[in-house]
């Protein structure tokens, strides 16, 4: 069942490519229908989810490359199921948003459906090699999206994105091979590796392996200082590409922390947790500060992603520093981290789609060119206001549930540094309100016409509704995450 969900989109993509006679209209609606079907299946998975003895549901294990001890092993638990659902939701939103796309629709649809399979694959993979294959393919897919449908500087940004993150994934592969070699019998299976704890007492080797894995994941997350591929990639990517890049692809990095680095290298992770915490805090503050100085709406949102993903890194670092007696705080921090991944995906995905609308209407991302847009585009201004307040962590939205848990859980680990990181919350509020004030309020500067269309509303509205649903009734999400978070 899980495998059907994962591979359905790519099969549809092949079908689209194999039917060159189909009109753009048919292609678009097929894309939407397949994405909707995937989402429906994921909802069914969620409803029927009951983890087995291993902690995973819908587990499948088939021989794949037995000679290197790698299998097709997939399954979902409380850490991955929310991300699988997020992926399905965002891809549907992007499919709906792209209903007005006219440029090489067939290739775009096929590429997005391929990317959907790849992204779902990363989150369900329970084998390091399988994880790596999907992880790498996501880079390839996104490269073509940016290069093929991006703005003027897209080719350059796409190459930078590809090379930078590809280098990161090579480091990741090195780390995986290190784990494989250390295990006996040799295996790439994550659950076997967790049980074996192959790096226990390995000293410097364990540190090197963790360094490789952490660097590989940090590039993808991205954390400071390996984040500079992100702004150009976002600025030049098409809106839907940005939404997937920020909403789903960045989560692969942080998901790797909780799925691979924390459980498979527990001692090393704990020993170096203060470093992780520090990287998280620097990402939070530095990301927020750089975002504050931006004049380009999309670039600003890109930097807030560094800030928001910094909270996740901060939480997984702090969680490992908390003693066993502080189980509640630790679970709170990890739950907050996973919630933040979902929340950031929904909210930033929506913000990038909204920035696409802004560009569509005004032909620029430069905030100083706008003013008083709320008069001409009231619905657009309204939904952006909601997204902005959601993103700055206002209670009632998912961001608060995430950030409150992260901070409340983490403060006990290192009160002063974490308290300092709280300033990131204030700086994001400053930058979002300033940006909103400049673009939407005050006197009108430019003539802009065309409020949100129906498809745009249908694409973006549900993301905000979900953010509110999680903000007001978080139990449906937390009930899934908490059991998995408590074993980390």
């Amino acid at each position: 069942m899980l495998s059907i969900v994962v591979f359905l989109p790519v099969v549809a993509a092949l079908a689209l490519l194999a039917a060159p006679g189909a009109s753009d209209r048919v292609v678009r609606w097929t894309w939407v229908a397949v994405s909707a079907l995937v989402l429906a299946l994921v909802v069914a998975l969620w409803i029927g989810y009951s983890p087995g003895a291993s902690g995973f549901g819908y587990e499948t294990q088939v021989n794949w490359i037995p000679t290197v001890g790698s299998g097709y092993h997939v399954g979902v638990d409380g850490l991955s199921l929310p991300l699988v659902a997020l992926t399905a939701v965002l891809f549907l939103s992007c499919a709906v948003y792209s209903l007005r796309e006219t440029h090489r629709v067939r290739s775009l649809a096929a590429l997005f459906l391929f990317l959907e399979t790849v992204c779902l694959g990363v989150f369900v993979a329970l084998d390091l090699l399988l994880f790596f294959v999907f992880f790498d393919l996501s880079i390839v897919g996104m490269y073509f999206v940016i290069a093929g449908w991006g703005h003027s500087g897209a080719a350059r940004a796409a190459v930078k994105f590809f090379l930078y993150t590809f280098l990161g994934s090579l480091a990741l592969l090195l780390g995986f091979i290190g784990l494989y070699l250390a295990a006996s019998p040799h295996t790439f299976d994550m659950l076997d590796l967790t049980r074996q704890d192959p790096m226990a007492g390995k000293g410097a080797v364990a540190v090197l392996v963790m360094l490789a894995i952490v660097v590989g994941l940090a590039v993808k997350t991205p954390t400071v200082p390996v984040h500079t591929w992100l702004p150009p990639a976002h600025v030049d990517a098409p809106a839907a590409g940005s939404a997937i890049l920020a909403g789903v692809l960045l989560k692969m990095g942080t998901y790797g922390f909780v799925r691979i680095a924390m459980p498979i290298l527990p001692q090393t992770w704990r020993a170096y947790a203060p470093v992780i915490l520090a990287v998280g805090i620097v990402s939070v503050l530095y990301g927020a500060l750089v975002a504050l100085a931006q004049r380009d709406f999309k670039r600003m949102i890109a930097y807030t992603s560094v800030n928001h993903m910094g909270y996740v890194v901060l939480a997984v670092g702090a969680a490992a520093m908390l003693a066993d007696t502080e189980a509640q705080a630790r679970q709170l921090a990890v739950t907050g981290a996973v919630t933040q991944m979902v929340s950031h995906g929904l909210i930033t995905g929506a913000l990038f789609l909204l920035s696409g609308v802004l560009f569509e209407r005004g032909k620029t991302y430069d905030m100083a060119s706008y003013g008083g847009l709320a008069r001409q585009l009231p619905a657009f201004a309204g939904i952006t206001a909601v997204a902005v307040f959601a993103s700055l962590g206002l209670p009632g939205f998912s961001g608060f549930i995430a950030e409150f848990q992260i901070f409340t859980g983490s403060i006990g680990a290192a009160p002063v540094p974490v308290g300092f990181a709280l300033l990131g919350v204030l700086i994001t509020a400053v930058l979002f309100l300033r940006a909103y004030q400049q673009v939407f309020l005050g006197p009108t500067k430019t003539r802009v016409a065309g409020d949100l269309t129906l498809t745009e509303t249908v694409a973006i509205g549900p993301l905000m509704l979900l953010a509110v649903a999680i903000g007001l009734f978080p139990r449906f999400l937390l009930d899934v995450i908490e059991p998995a978070a408590s074993v980390l």
């Binding site: 200082p225 500079t228 100085a293 709170l332």
Partner: protein, 592 residues
């Protein structure tokens, strides 16, 4: 169930009005009034039945609300003021206003019934966001949106104190983050919690040094001011400190800090209020000062007196702001030269304004007189200097209230005061508020600690003397002289700009430059180095490696040619070669 309805109905109704947009404008006023009337009924029921509700929220931290004695007072207060304010706004403002006001009131209801930090923070911050939208309500006009932004950011900065408090409470062992658990936390963590709570409360109630945002908040419509200055926002900060009085009691430095901060704000902002030339600015500064008394009360453990002050002030201040709003609409001004004689132009507005101003001045037997005396009596037990400073602040209250009233009653600058038309929706809501401003203090007597006559008399005399002096001064000297520092709210906003905003912006642009030049520059540099290395390898290394390979091939070919030489195909030459080879072998054997 009552409590679920109390917090659920305004949420749903407010959200519906906001989503409806302009289409809902016509239905907004009746819907808003109906909902707030329903809320008032629910609130009275809740105050009498004292319900409690709870729902699972975060792990081990439920969303739990309860109505107890302190909450009951506020739960009834909020819809009462809301009803009056919404009635006042009928016919002028649309669905967006009514929707936001319902959310604003709802957030306050959640805040005052919360039993833990999680629901408290939820209501607390949503209230701040609603105040942003309400202050910047007329966002198209220059400066309005900015005012909302400043107000929101100032309060949100302080709100971070509650996040710290939550983390510290959890680390200290209060797993459910219950408000009643905070006072029992171990030393250290309890101090952190107290510091966070004080910071958040000072920010929300516009105590020093956060007072400037309240001046900016005047950019909102008058009904917003009436609500924000009485039963929500500023009241929330005072409420939080009154609610957590046990925590302040258990942490002595926090109690003293609250007392001193409260009295300092009451004095400083009282002085600011005395010299304001704009009625709304005067009232705003006086709000800071009056809330200062509540903070003082919380620090001194005078919960009953502080609550009485909160309720009495809420009725008084919402009344005064609505009067100012009525005059603004009728006369087109809110500054004093234009408001001279305003109270003579409409009997109901004039009389109710007079009642409000006299109550604000602390004159007997009106509400604020009794409330303030109840709390000052407790302060006297703690510290005589603080009591005397409190009395001095009372004198300032009387001075600014007396001045405002005298100006409003005096003969207008030019000609006689003509009657102006003010509709019944405008004046009718003033009546119940005026009744509250006059009589709530007496009604609260059963809950207040027994009052002593000498103290009551002392404060009444101080207030009467100060008010009379102010009135006399207005008659003799006319307008007060412009005072740079005081008129400009002690330049607090400039100070905040200089101390916080400028460095933040400087740091942000420094970081952005660093990011562009150093961090990304490093990446670009390594890419350039890699490209250069590749070019080098392509041009030189590749060439020489290739050359070496070619050389090896050439050598091999030469050797091959050499090896082909003996292969002549002629037998006699092979024999000769074999003889030479054998001879060499024999020689080798001999030598070895």
């Amino acid at each position: 169930m009552v409590l679920w309805l109390l917090v659920g109905v305004p949420l749903v109704a407010g959200a519906a009005l906001l989503l409806g947009g302009r289409r809902a404008d016509r239905a907004a006023a009746p819907a808003g009034l109906a909902v707030s009337a329903l809320l008032l009924g629910l609130a009275i029921t809740a105050a009498l039945t004292r319900p409690a509700i709870s729902a699972e929220f975060l792990d081990g931290m439920p969303f739990a609300l309860r109505v107890d004695g302190l909450s009951a007072a506020l739960v009834v207060l909020v819809p009462s003021v809301l009803l009056a304010v919404l009635a006042f706004s009928v016919g002028e403002l649309g669905a967006r206003f009514f929707g936001l006001m319902l959310l604003f009131a709802d957030a306050m209801l959640v805040t005052v019934t919360a039993t833990g930090l999680v629901p408290l923070l939820l209501g607390w911050e949503v209230m701040g966001a609603a105040s942003y939208a309400l202050i910047g309500f007329h966002w198209a006009e220059p400066g309005r949106a900015r005012a909302g932004t400043i107000a929101f950011l100032a309060t949100r900065g302080a709100d971070l104190g509650l996040y710290v408090a939550a983390g510290a409470a959890l680390a200290g062992g209060a797993g459910a983050l219950g408000l009643h658990q905070l006072a029992q936390l171990p030393d250290g963590w309890r101090d952190v919690v107290a510091a966070g709570v004080l910071l958040a409360a000072f920010g929300k109630s516009a105590q020093l040094p956060f007072s400037f945002w309240l001046s900016r908040a005047m950019a909102g419509p008058s009904p917003v001011s009436a609500m924000l200055h009485s039963a929500t926002m500023v009241a929330a900060g005072a409420y939080l400190l009154l609610r957590l009085e046990p925590l302040l009691g258990a942490t002595p430095w926090a109690g003293w800090l609250a007392m001193w901060a409260g009295v300092a704000t009451a004095l400083a902002l009282g002085a600011v209020a005395v010299v304001q030339r704009d009625l709304k600015q005067l009232l705003a500064a006086s709000t800071c000062a009056q809330v200062g008394f509540m903070v003082l009360a919380a620090g001194a453990g005078a919960v009953a007196g502080g609550t009485a002050q909160l309720v009495a002030h809420a009725a008084t201040k919402s009344l005064l702001f609505l009067c100012a709003g009525a005059w603004l609409a009728a006369l087109g001004t809110q500054s004093f030269p234009g408001l001279r004689g305003a109270a003579r132009r409409h009997p109901v507005v004039g009389v109710t304004f007079a009642v409000g101003a006299l109550s604000l001045a602390g004159l007997p037997p009106l509400s604020i007189w009794l409330a303030k005396d109840a709390l000052l009596a407790e302060v006297l037990h703690r510290s005589v200097p603080l009591y005397l400073l409190g009395l001095a602040a009372t004198a300032l209250s009387a001075a600014y209230a007396g001045r405002a009233l005298t100006l409003a009653l005096s003969a207008p600058a030019h000609g006689d005061a003509q009657r102006v038309a003010i509709g019944p929706w405008r004046w009718a809501p003033l009546l119940p508020l005026a009744a509250g401003a006059a009589a709530l203090g007496l009604l609260a007597l059963p809950w207040l600690p027994p009052l002593k006559w000498p103290e009551l008399l002392a404060s009444a005399l101080v207030a009467a003397a100060a008010a009379t002096a102010a009135a006399a001064l207005v008659h003799v000297r006319g307008e007060v002289a412009e005072q740079d520092v005081l008129s400009g709210w002690l330049r607090l906003e400039q100070a905040a700009r200089l101390a916080v905003v400028r460095p933040l912006d400087a740091m942000a642009s420094a970081c952005a430059r660093f990011d562009e030049r150093v961090v990304d520059g490093g990446v670009r540099l390594s890419a350039a180095v890699a490209t250069a290395a590749a070019r080098l390898a392509g041009n030189r290394l590749e060439w020489s490696v290739d050359g070496a390979v070619r050389g090896v091939a050439r050598g091999a070919r030469a050797m091959g040619r050499l090896a082909r030489r003996p292969q002549t195909g002629q037998l006699h030459q092979y024999y000769a070669q074999a003889v030479v080879a054998l001879a060499l072998l024999a020689l080798l054997l001999v030598i070895l």
